[in-house]
């Protein structure tokens, strides 16, 4: 089956920033993204878990974005603008996609 090279960018970020991040991604011209829930985690700012939150203030989500390789830099710039001052992790993985016309 015919596949095409693409990049999978995954941005783990505080829930309160989700709307700002996806708005920035859309502005940067991405054609789509998927938001995954995060149960908990640990990092330099300590350990947390969803059951220990009184509110959306502390939770995180993971935003996954599949893009053509040539659009990577644009996307990273947009993402970085939002993530910069905030808690968050950004990873990029090589992948192959079916139905490349979608991206």
């Amino acid at each position: 089956m015919q596949t095409h090279k693409a990049k999978r960018v995954e941005i783990t970020i505080e829930s309160v920033m989700e709307g700002r991040l996806t708005a920035a991604l859309i502005k940067a011209g991405v054609t789509g993204f998927t938001v995954l829930p995060v149960l908990g985690g640990s990092g330099r700012s300590g350990q947390w878990s969803r059951e220990g939150q009184v509110s959306r203030a502390g939770g995180m989500v993971s935003v996954v974005c599949i893009i053509r390789p040539e659009r990577l830099d644009e996307l990273l710039d947009a993402a970085f603008g939002v993530v910069e001052r905030h808690i968050g992790v950004v990873t990029v993985t090589d992948c192959e996609v079916l139905r490349a016309e979608r991206f």
Binding site: G46, E51, S55, A57, I87
Partner: protein, 326 residues
């Protein structure tokens, strides 16, 4: 003084407080007891729905009081002003940075709705009937403190506080405020008739739901305290206990000037004494990401909330009664 102690002792043995203590104890003992996030959110929706509706229905029943508007204005002013006092106090007795101190200060100008609910239930249990519109005052006090916090940073701080377009709308339209105010208005509009319809849902089971909710608050506060022990210096702890007393004094003056009933004065004190742990933390993460959330959450949820719940409320009740003759 004796009266306060007796009241406090009574209060300490109420199911509400005991379930909060159970939650704290379970968290400290590292039990895996937990209320699923969705259920906890469901419980808080129930509380806001019920307390808002009851407030509105009570306004419908007793008619609009001449002081309603003045009380709202007083709430606004207090929410704007208390962060300045909190900030000054923090800078005096702790070593927090400007940013952290401003973030904490913002929490103390805003309010904790559960503390308000607990105080209301104590007030009614001793026969007081606070003004129904105190719910609206609570709603009005949620947001202004955030602006004060950001202003403090802009004025005294180095890091920049972003007050972007979206944030103000987000703060004013956050779910809790909308649900509280909406339910209040619907309770007001539908009055006795509406109340008769849904009373079996929002009145009879209310105390039981509140117990479960406070169990969850205890679990969350306990876990937070366990994680963040290290940030809790003596100075911060002192602030977490002193600030509610200071705040309540302002609330007391406001309530007396407005001529509120003994229950109303007590609730005004409680609102001024309590600190936010939902709306303000969320806003701070967006606008002041450099502020350390452990500090403000630990203070608000781990120190001030339990203090108000156990000792604060009986004190505010006793003081209000003494000074209003209620």
């Amino acid at each position: 003084m004796d009266g306060i102690l007796a009241l406090a002792a009574d209060n300490l043995l109420s199911p509400i407080i005991l379930f909060f203590a159970l939650g704290l104890a379970a968290a400290f003992a590292r039990s895996d007891l937990s209320i699923p996030e969705a259920v906890a959110k469901g419980l808080s929706i129930y509380l806001l729905f019920a307390i808002g509706f009851k407030g509105g229905a009570s306004v419908a029943a007793h008619g609009i009081d001449a002081t309603l508007v003045l009380s709202l204005v007083a709430g606004l002013i207090l929410s704007f002003a208390l962060p300045l006092i909190a900030f000054a106090l923090l800078r005096a007795i702790t070593r927090l940075s400007v940013t952290d101190a401003a973030a904490v200060a913002g929490h103390y100008g805003s309010i904790s709705i559960v503390t308000f609910v607990a105080a209301t239930s104590v007030a009614t249990s001793v026969g007081l009937s606070p003004e129904g519109y105190m719910v609206a005052v609570a709603a009005v006090m949620e947001a202004p403190a955030i602006l004060s916090a950001l202003w403090i940073v802009a004025r005294f701080g180095k890091s920049s506080a972003e007050m972007e377009d979206g944030l103000m709308r987000e703060i004013l339209l956050n779910g809790s405020i909308v649900l509280l105010v909406g339910s209040f208005l619907i309770g007001w509009i539908t009055g006795d008739e509406g109340m008769a319809l849904i009373a079996p849902f929002i009145v009879a089971p209310f105390q039981g739901v509140l117990c479960l909710f406070l169990l969850d608050m205890g679990l969350v506060a306990g876990r937070g305290l366990r994680e963040a022990r290290s940030v809790l210096t003596a100075g911060l702890f002192a602030f977490g206990v002193a600030m509610p007393l200071v705040g309540s004094a302002f609330g007391l003056v406001a309530g007396l000037l407005l001529g509120l009933s003994p229950g109303g004065v007590m609730l005004f004190m409680t609102l001024s004494a309590s600190a936010s742990y939902i709306a303000v933390p969320a806003a701070m993460r967006v606008a002041l990401p450099e502020a350390n959330p452990s500090v403000y959450l630990t203070l608000s949820l781990g120190v001030t909330f339990p203090f108000n719940l156990t000792l604060g409320i009986p004190i505010y009740l006793a003081v209000s009664r003494a000074l209003t003759g209620g």
